[in-house]
Subunit: 267 residues, 3 copies
C-alpha cells in the first residue's frame, strides 16, 4: 500500500491538477497557498453564473461548507452536477454539520445533484453525518471516541465513497479498506484552517491520482508530516510562525519523507 502514497505524490507533482474550490472565507487563502505549495493549481470559482461550465474543466471539485453564502450554496448544486457529469472527483468538507442543521440539509440536497468521491471532516462531523451522537463545539470536534473507524465505515457504505475523519489519529475508510495515520501535531489545532487545507489537499491529490482511497491517505499524511516539520523548524509553539512554516514544509514533502517518517497503519 505504501507505494500508492508515493505514486499519488508523484502524480500530483507531474500533473499540476486544477482544483476547483468553493470554500469558506476564513481559510480560502490558506487553501490556495497550500495547494500551490504541493504543486496543484487552485481556482476559487464560486459564482452561480460560472461554476457549471468551470467545474467540468477542472481536475477535481472541493466543496467546503464553512461559511456557505446563499450564492455559494446555489453554486455548489451546479458545480457538483457539472463535475459528476464528467466523472470528476468531488471532495466534501462538511464543516460544522454537527452544530448547524442547514449544513446537513445542504449535504443531503447535494447528494441529489451528484456524488461525493471523498467526505473529509473532523471526527465530530463524520459522526454527525453518520447519524451518531457527536460532541462538537462550533466548528471543532470534542470527540476522541474509539468509535471513529466504525463511523467512517458506516458513512462510507452509506454514500459509496471514501470517508476521512481527522483528529489526533486520522482515519480513512472506504467500503473495504481502512487505515490510521498516526503523524501530526497538536499545533495544527492552534491555527485556523488546518482542516480546510487538508480537505483542499485531498482534492489536489484526487485530481491527479485515480485511486481516491490512496489519494486521500497521501493528502492527509502530507499535511501531518508538514505539520510535524513546521513545528520543529518554527521552534515550538508559536502559531503565527508555525503557520508560515507549514506552507514552507508542504512544499518540501517528498517521497523519501513519506517512506521514512510516515506512520500509516493499514487495517
Amino acid at each position: 500500500m505504501k507505494e500508492k502514497l508515493t505514486k499519488a505524490l508523484q502524480a500530483l507533482k507531474q500533473k499540476t491538477p486544477l482544483v476547483h474550490a468553493i470554500t469558506n472565507v476564513v481559510t480560502v487563502n490558506d487553501c490556495a497557498n497550500s495547494l500551490l505549495a504541493v504543486g496543484a493549481s487552485p481556482a476559487m470559482c464560486e459564482a452561480a453564473d460560472e461554476v457549471f461550465e468551470f467545474s467540468q474543466l477542472a481536475g477535481s471539485l472541493y466543496l467546503n461548507l464553512g461559511t456557505l453564502t446563499k450564492e455559494q450554496e446555489m453554486a455548489a448544486y451546479l458545480a457538483i452536477r457539472g463535475a459528476t457529469l464528467k466523472g470528476i472527483p468531488v471532495i466534501l468538507d462538511p464543516v460544522a454539520c454537527g452544530a448547524i442543521p442547514r449544513k446537513k440539509a445542504t449535504i443531503e440536497r447535494l447528494g441529489h445533484f451528484g456524488r461525493f468521491t471523498v467526505i473529509k471532516g473532523n471526527l465530530g462531523e463524520v459522526k454527525a453525518l453518520a447519524g451518531l451522537a457527536a460532541r462538537v463545539r462550533g466548528v471543532d470536534s470534542l470527540d476522541e471516541g474509539n468509535d471513529g473507524l466504525e463511523a467512517c465505515q458506516s458513512l462510507a457504505r452509506a454514500y459509496g465513497c471514501v470517508v476521512a475523519a481527522t483528529g489526533k489519529v486520522d482515519i480513512v475508510a472506504d467500503g473495504q479498506r481502512a487505515c490510521l495515520i498516526e503523524n501530526g501535531t497538536e499545533m495544527l489545532t492552534r491555527i485556523t484552517g488546518a482542516g480546510c487545507m487538508a480537505g483542499a489537499l485531498v482534492a489536489g491529490f484526487c485530481g491527479a491520482y485515480e485511486d481516491a482511497f490512496g489519494a486521500t491517505v497521501a493528502a492527509l499524511l502530507t499535511m501531518s508530516l508538514a505539520g510535524e516539520l513546521a513545528q520543529e523548524t518554527s521552534g515550538g509553539e508559536l502559531p503565527g510562525t508555525f503557520r508560515a512554516h507549514l506552507i514552507d514544509q508542504l512544499s518540501l514533502v517528498d517521497e523519501a519523507l513519506i517512506e521514512k517518517r510516515g506512520r500509516v497503519q493499514w487495517l
Copy 2:
C-alpha cells in the same frame, strides 16, 4: 482594578469561549487566528439561515461591519436578536461608520433588535457614532483629539454599554468608570486587521468574563502588549514578519506580563 485584568485572562484560558463572529472579509482569517492564539474558539457563522440558532449557543457575538454584504446584514439582525434573548454579550465593531452612511443606519437598526455590550471602534468611528465631528479617511481615523474620553462616555451613556476607542492611547469607558491604555506600537497601524483583531479579542474576553468593562480593558491591553513584543522580536519595522510575530505573541501574553508591563491609567 488591575487584578480584574489578570482574572479576565485566567477566565479566558480556562473557559475557551465560543465566539460567534460576523465579520469583514479582509481580516476574517486574522480574527480567527488571534482568537485561537489567546485560547478562544472562533466560529464564523454568517448565513441568515444559520445565525439565529447559532448565536444562542455561543459565548459572545462579534459584529464587525467592515465589508457587510446584504446577506451579512440580514444575519446580523437575526444574530443580535438571538444573542440578546439569551443574555449573551454582543460586541460591535462599527468599521467605517464615519465615512459610510449605510453603516450608521445599520447600527441604529441593530439597536432595535438587541443591545450592545461593548462598542469598540477607532476614535473617528466612536466620535461619529457619538454625533461629534470626526476626521476619517476611509476606514482610518485621522483623529487624535483630546475629546476622546468625552466621546466614549457620551456614547456609553447613550447606549448603556462599554465603549472603547482605539488609537495611540486606547480609551475605555462605561457609565461610571474609565481608563486609558498606554501600551501599543505604531506598527499595529502598518498592517491591516489590528483593529478587527482587537475587537475579536474583546468578544473573546467578554465570552469568558462577566464584567464587560474589565474584559474590554484586558483584551485591548493584550493586543497592545502583543504588538510591543512582536515589534521587538521581529526586529523593527517589517510588516510581514511583524504580522506573524503578532499572532505568536498573542499566544504568549500571560498574567505576569500584564502585571509587569501593562500601563493602564484608571480615571
Copy 3:
C-alpha cells in the same frame, strides 16, 4: 523616463492615496497589506448600497473580478460610474477572463458605465481581452508567446488606456509608449496573490501620480523588486516565509533601489 518612476514612488509616499478596492476573497488581505506596506490606504468597500458615493471620495478604484459575487458585480457598475464622474483612475484586473465567459461579459458591461485607466492582467488574460487566442489554465496563463507587446498595444488602443501584461517579463503599453520590466522571480508564481497585489499597487500608484503609464510601470517594478529581495532574504524557495518577506520588502522599496536595480527597457 526612469525619473518618472522615482517621482511616482515619491508621490505615493507623500500622498497616502485612498484606494477603493472591490476584489476577490482569496487575496483581499494580501492586497490590503501590500497597499499599506508601500504607503497607500486601502478600503475594501463592496456593498451596492455604499460604493457609488464612496468611489467618489477615493484616490483610485481597483476592480478585481477574481471571485465576483453578484453583489460585487452590481457594486462594480456603481463604483466605476462614480469614479468616472469624478475623473478618478480605475484599474481593472480581469482575473480569469480567458477561462470564464461571465468575466468577459462583465468587463464589456463595465465599459458602458465608465472608463478604465489601466487594465492589468497576466498575458493570457490580456490576449483573451484583445481577442487573440490565449492559453490559460483556470486563473493562470500558460502563455509565454512573443506576441505579448502586440496584444497590449492592440488592447490599449481599443480601450484608450494603459495595458499591462505580467509574466516572466512584464509588458506595459499605452497608445504611444511601451516598455518591458525584466525584474522579478518565479517565486511570485508559487504563492497566491502576487498578480492581485501587483494590480492593487497599480491602483495605489495611480492614486498618487497622474501619468498612468509611469505609475503602472513603477507599481509593477516595485512588486518585482520586492519579490527578488524577498527571495534573497527568505533563503530561497519557501513559499510561506517568502510571502511574509514579500510584504516586508514592499515596505522597503525606495528610490535608490529603483535606480540601482530596476531593469526597465523602454521601447
